[in-house]
Symmetry: C2
C-alpha cells in the first residue's frame, strides 16, 4: 500500500470512523482502523462489533495512489499524528509487510500494524427499500430524545431509543422510567411494513455528531437485528436491542387540571437558580407551586439555606398545586426546545406526571415524574 | 448589613478573593468570605491562613449603603448565585442576625451565615518602602518561571519561587531539581537592603491570574515571614517558605561545546510530534541528535513504533551529540518564550544540562537535565 493524501480529507474521515472504537474493547484487532486501498479509492473501517463505521474516500479525492493494499493501523495515536503533521499533504507507505511509514519531507512515523487477515469480516448490508430522512430532521429527533435514555444496564432495553413507524408516522421514544421524551415526525412517504425497533442510544448519539444540520439525506436500512445508516460517504451500522420496549402511549395524559403557559428561557433560568443549593445532591429536587395564577419555584438545603423564584405564567384557572421534581431532568428536557419559544406546563396532581410541550411545536412531548417529598 | 450593588462589580471582586479559599481547608469558618460594610464601602476577605486576599469596593461604586455590618457568607455557592442572578442590580440584607437575604424583584436566596466574631483576625500589613513593579512585567516573571517549581512536598522549599534582589537587579528562580528557570529584571530603583525570599509557587500562580498584562503597578511589601502584594484595590498576602533555597548560579554553564540556533515554533512542533508515541509515559523521553550541522529528534516506543523529525538549525561547529530529555519539560520551557523568536540550544555533553535561551532576550534562561537512556 502506498498513497499520498490531503491531511484534512483523511483527518475528517478518520474522525468519523474512530467513533466506533470503544475504550472498553478487549479484542486487540478492534483497536485498529482498517485501511483498504484500491484503484477506486481508500476505505476506512472501525468497529467495536456492535457498531461499525466505514467511510470511502474516492480516488479523485486522493492525491496519488501508487500501490493497492490493506492494513490495520492502531487507532490510539493515528488521529493525533495526522492532526499534528506539519504539511497539508501526507504520504503513506507499507514497509516490511506489517509496518506503515507515514511521512512528509522532514518527519516520519514508523508504526507497527496488525494483519488485515485477522480483522473480522464485517458485513455492511444495504436494503433495497431504505427509509430516507433529511439529516437536519434526524439530528433533531436524536437530540430531542436521546438524553432521556437510561444509563443503567439493569434494564438494557431502556438504554435504547424506540423507533416506530406506522404508515407515514415516525415516533421516537426514550425513557429511563423516571422521565420520557417522545418525538413524532410525518414522513414524506408511507412505509409498506410497520417498523418497531430499539436502537442503542449511545450509538445514535455518536451518529448525531457525524451528521450535519443540513438538507443532506440519511438513509435508514433496517434489518431484524441491525440498522445501517447511510450518510454521504459514510456507512454507520448499529446492532438493535433485543426485547420489548415498554408501551408508553398510555403513560402520557391527554387531559390536564392545570395548563400553565410561560416563557421557556425565564422558566429554565429560574429552575437553574433554584437548583443551585441542592446541586451535587443525587436528586437535585426543586418544588413548583402554582396558586392564584402565580408560580413559585423553591428549594431548600438545611445546612445552606433556601431559594425562591417567582415565574410569570398564564394559567387558565385557579387550581392549586405543589409538586416536586428533579431540576436536572427538567433542565435537560427544556434544553431541547428552541430558545425563543413559549412552553406549556401541563399538570394534574402532585403525584401525576408533569408534561412539557412547546406552544408552537406539537411534535415533541416531555414527561417528568414528580418526586415525593415529606 | 443592608446594601444594593451592581452584579458585575461584586462578581469581579468575589472572584478575586475566592482564590484564597482552599478545598483542602478543614477550618469551617475559612470556607466563608467576610463581607464588611461601612459607610466608606464594602471589603471582602478570604483566607486559607497561608494566603489572604482582601478587596475593597468604594462607596462610590456601590448603588446604595443602607446599614453597616459584618457577616461571613459561605463561599461554596456565592459565586454561582451572583453569576446567575437575573438582574444587574442585587440587594443584600442581613435578617435574623445570621442569615443573609440576597434578592432581586423576582427571586431571593436566604443563606445561612457564620458569625464574624469567629473569623480570625488577619493582619494585612503594609511596609513604608514597598518595591514597585509594572504588572505586565511581574506577570511575565511568574509565567516564565512558575511552571518549573516542584509539585512534591518532599523538599518544600522547591515548591516556591526564589526572589532575590541585589541593588537594582531582581532575579527569580524556580527549580524542581530536574530543570530550572531563571529570569532577571533590572528595577527602576535600587533597593537599600538585599532581598532573598522564597514565595509559595501556587500562591504566585493565583496572583498572576488576578493581575492584568498592563501598566498598572504591583507593590511588593516584604516582611520576614510574609509578603503583601498590593494591586489596584486588591491586597494579596502570602506566607513565605522557611529554609534555604539551593544556590543555583553555579549550575548554569557559561561555556558551551555546541551552540545551535533554530526557529522556536518549528522546534517545539517537532518535539511535540516526536513525543506523541511516548505520551502518557512517565518520562516522555525524546532523543536529540546533532551531527554535521543537522538535527534529528526521535523517539521510540517498542509496541507502537518510532518517529523521526528533521529540524533546521544553524550550528557553529561540527561537534556531535546524542542527548535524551523529557519532552514535557522542554515544551513547558519553550512555551514561555514568545512565538516569533529564534532560540539558542546550548549543549556541552550528553550528561550536562541543556540550556535554552531566546536569541533576542537575555533575561530568561531555561535549564533542563538530560535523561540517561541505555
Amino acid at each position: 500500500m502506498k498513497f499520498t493524501i490531503q491531511k484534512n480529507i483523511l483527518l475528517e474521515n478518520l474522525t468519523y470512523v474512530s467513533k466506533a472504537i470503544s475504550i472498553k474493547n478487549i479484542i486487540p484487532i478492534l483497536n485498529g482502523i482498517k485501511f483498504e486501498l484500491t484503484k477506486n479509492g481508500l476505505s476506512l473501517t472501525a468497529s467495536d462489533s456492535e457498531l461499525t463505521i466505514k467511510t470511502f474516500i474516492e480516488e479523485k479525492d486522493i492525491v496519488k495512489i501508487e500501490e493497492e493494499g490493506t492494513i490495520i493501523i492502531q487507532s490510539k495515536f493515528i488521529l493525533d499524528i495526522i492532526r499534528k503533521m506539519p504539511s497539508d499533504i501526507i504520504n503513506f507507505e507499507v514497509i516490511d509487510g506489517l509496518k506503515i511509514k507515514i511521512y512528509t519531507d522532514n518527519n516520519q512515523y514508523n508504526l507497527n500494524c496488525l494483519d488485515y487477515k485477522e480483522y473480522p469480516s464485517l458485513k455492511l448490508e444495504e436494503s433495497k427499500t431504505p427509509l430516507v430522512i433529511k439529516s437536519s430532521i434526524f439530528k433533531e429527533i436524536i437530540n430531542q430524545t436521546s438524553f432521556a435514555i437510561s444509563t443503567q444496564e439493569l434494564r438494557p432495553i431502556l438504554t435504547g431509543i424506540n423507533l416506530k413507524i406506522v404508515g407515514d408516522m415516525l415516533e421516537c421514544v426514550a425513557t429511563d422510567s423516571y422521565r420520557l421524551s417522545k418525538k413524532n415526525i410525518k414522513l414524506d412517504e408511507a412505509v409498506k411494513d410497520d417498523v418497531n425497533i430499539v436502537i442503542p442510544g449511545k450509538n445514535l448519539v455518536e451518529f448525531e455528531k457525524i451528521i450535519a444540520d443540513d438538507d443532506n439525506e440519511v438513509e435508514l436500512h433496517i434489518f431484524n437485528s441491525k440498522i445501517l445508516f447511510k450518510y454521504k460517504n459514510i456507512l454507520f451500522q448499529s446492532n438493535l436491542l433485543n426485547g420489548t420496549f415498554p408501551t408508553t402511549s398510555n403513560l402520557i395524559p391527554t387531559e390536564f387540571e392545570i395548563i400553565a403557559k410561560t416563557n421557556l428561557s425565564d422558566y429554565a433560568a429560574s429552575i437553574d437558580r433554584a437548583s443551585l443549593l441542592t446541586q451535587g445532591k443525587d436528586k437535585n429536587i426543586v418544588k413548583m407551586k402554582i396558586e392564584e395564577g402565580k408560580m413559585i419555584i423553591n428549594s431548600f438545603a438545611s445546612e445552606i439555606g433556601r431559594v425562591e423564584e417567582k415565574v410569570m405564567i398564564d394559567v387558565d384557572n385557579n387550581a392549586k398545586i405543589d409538586i416536586s421534581f428533579s431540576a436536572r431532568y427538567m433542565l435537560e428536557a427544556l434544553r431541547t426546545i428552541k430558545d425563543d419559544e413559549e412552553i406549556l406546563i401541563l399538570l394534574n396532581s402532585d403525584v401525576k406526571p408533569i408534561v412539557i410541550k412547546s406552544v408552537n411545536d406539537e411534535s415533541l412531548i416531555h414527561l417528568i415524574l414528580p418526586v415525593k417529598t415529606y
